[in-house]
Symmetry: C2
Subunit: 224 residues, 2 copies
């Protein structure tokens, strides 16, 4: 019982801070994505492609989570975009408090787009709201089509499924249609993209969806 | 403080049960592996190749962990080997209690080889001893060479690194040498294999290592 109570307490405290983050993001009219996936599904590559295409028009802030190393933030900063690393040590997920702390030290007063790249973990980050507009779940074709069925809480918690490394399909037994079907059985409301940061397949649709998403959020905020 | 205390308590209770499991495995002279990796690194494929090659000579018991589905146990049972699924629901790792419970219901009185396939998670299972002889860490070349540096606790906790899906190297930016070097920087004692369950590359070495491992364990137990 004590274990359950404590877990509930940790999650409740996280919820409180997530609500604060969300209020702050609404005030500044930011679109906020929380990228979640297994390690090595291509989160940082997608962040890089996204900031390359949007940095001319939008102010962007990237927060990258990992147990160790600054690698991901360095990869993003190469493109001239503000990025901070969150090193979690042994923690298996980002929480809302880590985000609010880094926001407090951000350079710009506001951002059009905030991308949070979570720790690579297909389980634990599903329980932690960071104040984002939605979770973007990446699953690479190299991981296998059954992953949505095996890890349903993350599929349920996400608004987007990005099937990544689609260029590897000819060299694996993967069928992206089956992967998408398996995910949609768990969560029929998912928006699905098929992406390759190598061949650039699907990136135009992804960027178009982000632009529409920011416009929709601004309209919703204007209406109050 | 309470959070840390509780985590310590959970881990201590797990240690107690892991010691019991280890004693039981020693009594029956079993070699016990705990396979850990990100989701989709190829744990079940490696289990399948292993049981195909050893089932003629050895009695084998396989325990497969996932949040949901019986898929992995079904895949192993097709080969005529005893396999039970552990569905963890929302839990992000197997613990020693789950293993002892399934052992109590095992069909055979003893096994030469027990393979535990953990939940796909490169973080949390590193803290939970299940009573195994050693953890076998799988990282597929599709995940990227920097994963050992980003997830050091699992690398430190493991005795073997299996670099999997080595057949995909020509289609990725991966360099298995760099991956191995990064892992050996964290843990110089790792035994490293390069495997492809598709082309069968490296499987002969893997099976040879298992045979030597079982013989060594039996000798050590005979000496008391």
């Amino acid at each position: 019982m004590r274990k359950v109570d404590l877990r509930q307490k940790v999650i409740s405290e996280n919820e409180r801070l997530a609500v604060e983050n969300r209020r702050r993001f609404a005030q500044s009219g930011s679109l906020v994505l929380n990228l979640v996936s297994s390690p090595g599904s291509g989160k940082t590559s997608l962040v890089e492609e996204t900031v390359k295409q949007l940095k001319g028009d939008w102010s962007i802030f990237v927060l990258t989570g990992d147990l160790m190393t600054e690698n991901d933030a360095l990869r993003v900063r190469r493109h001239g975009v503000e990025a901070v690393q969150i090193s979690t040590g042994e923690a298996c997920h980002l929480d809302a408090g880590m985000i609010s702390e880094k926001l407090a030290a951000a350079r710009a007063p506001r951002y059009d787009l905030v991308i949070i790249e979570n720790v690579g973990n297909l389980v634990c980050p599903s329980s932690f709201d960071l104040g984002e507009d939605l979770k973007v779940l990446l699953i690479s074709v190299a991981e296998g089509d059954d992953k949505p069925l095996k890890y349903p809480p993350m599929v349920r918690a996400s608004g987007v499924l990005a099937i990544t490394k689609i260029d590897l399909v000819p060299y694996t037994d993967s069928d992206p249609n089956r992967l998408a079907e398996n995910a949609l059985r768990i969560n029929p409301d998912l928006t699905v993209f098929r992406l390759s940061c190598k061949t650039k397949e699907g990136l135009e649709q992804w960027i178009g969806w982000l632009k529409a998403g920011l416009a929709a959020k601004r309209r919703a905020l204007a209406k109050g």
